[in-house]
Assembly symmetry: C2
């Protein structure tokens, strides 16, 4: 039970050679934990809720994921996905406007999925909370900042290439995009359907018309 073995275990790359085998698929139960946090939030989802949703006892949960905070951080990373992949996707879009349009439409789809809770985990799971959970909120905020940085970089490319006017403010445009996305999560939580959210996304993008030729 030293630090090294724990590190190796959490890395998930060392298949054990001896001992009783795991009775559950780690990725599978992590997915269920993610859905539970997505539905009910970080602090407001109890260990009892998690064990029930994951189909795993508390000792198994702690052995596999450390503690509640680490489990959430892993679940969030699973939700957020690969950021480099997103950046490449946005780079391949013909314009920043098209990239943002795809992002907002994708958000509308994600927030109204029939197999997942409504809204965005990054927007709702740690919107607020006690001082004890400040680290978790900071981690969620860092994810949002990464998305903001990606947006800013993509917009700057279009400004440099002359597609967007030189007086465009990349940070403000990225902030507005992020605000619309996170706000759409609130609408979804309030029961907005997919068509409504897609309409909001399209209307938000329509506002960009003035920024281009």
């Amino acid at each position: 039970m030293d630090l090294l073995s724990v590190t190796m275990k959490s890395a998930g790359t060392s298949p054990r050679k001896t001992g009783r085998p795991l009775s559950f698929d780690r990725e599978e139960v992590l997915e269920k934990a993610m859905l539970a946090f997505w539905e009910s939030g970080y602090e407001t989802t109890s260990i009892a809720d998690l064990t029930a949703a994951m189909g795993v006892t508390a000792p198994s949960l702690y052995a596999a994921f450390g503690n509640k905070q680490q489990l959430f951080l892993e679940a969030m990373q699973r939700y957020a996905g690969d950021r480099t992949a997103l950046e490449k996707e946005m780079s391949s879009a013909p314009t920043a406007r098209e990239a943002v349009a795809e992002m907002l439409r994708g958000a509308a789809m994600l927030y109204t999925g029939e197999e997942t809770p409504p809204g965005c985990l990054l927007a709702s799971a740690a919107a607020t909370g006690s001082p004890e959970a400040a680290e978790v909120r900071a981690a969620v905020a860092a994810e949002r900042q990464e998305l903001r940085d990606i947006l800013i970089r993509r917009i700057k490319v279009d400004i440099a290439s002359g597609i967007m006017p030189s007086n465009t403010r990349p940070a403000t445009l990225a902030d507005l995009t992020l605000a619309v996305a996170q706000g759409m999560s609130v609408l979804a939580r309030d029961g907005a359907d997919r068509a409504s959210l897609l309409a909001v996304a399209d209307m938000a993008i329509a506002g960009w018309s003035i920024s281009e030729g």
Copy 2:
């Protein structure tokens, strides 16, 4: 301690004639409770947190406000303010666009007040939570819906008077406005300053240009 006396007490309109007087100002401690919920959320603010913030013991809190849920609902109404006043204010604006502009700029100011927590209580205090707090989330959602309805009515006025084009979709425009406002709360929580939020509000309004002559 029958239902009638409780009702009269919570109404706050019947000055008691006998008994030991209250040692605190009810509106004053309610304000402090509102700030605590605003800062840390509904479920994630404990009774101990509230009594510390309000400077009132737990028995006094329960005697004055009933229970935690009722205290929050009162605090939320204090936050949300008078809706009819808001509607009159929006009606007096020359156009729906100006009314929305004022609303978003006001949100930018409110979410970055130096004497209040960052962001919007309606957006962050009950973004998610346990099934036990479903009633509270529904009450917060109802407040948002009222705001949405007011926006829709104001937009319809401008469509009827020909200020806005007849193919404008009031619900979508109201949804987008609400999304921007609630999303701005996330930005504020992440540390965005007042100038940044005002810039976002102005840019969101700039998108309306295409909807008018």
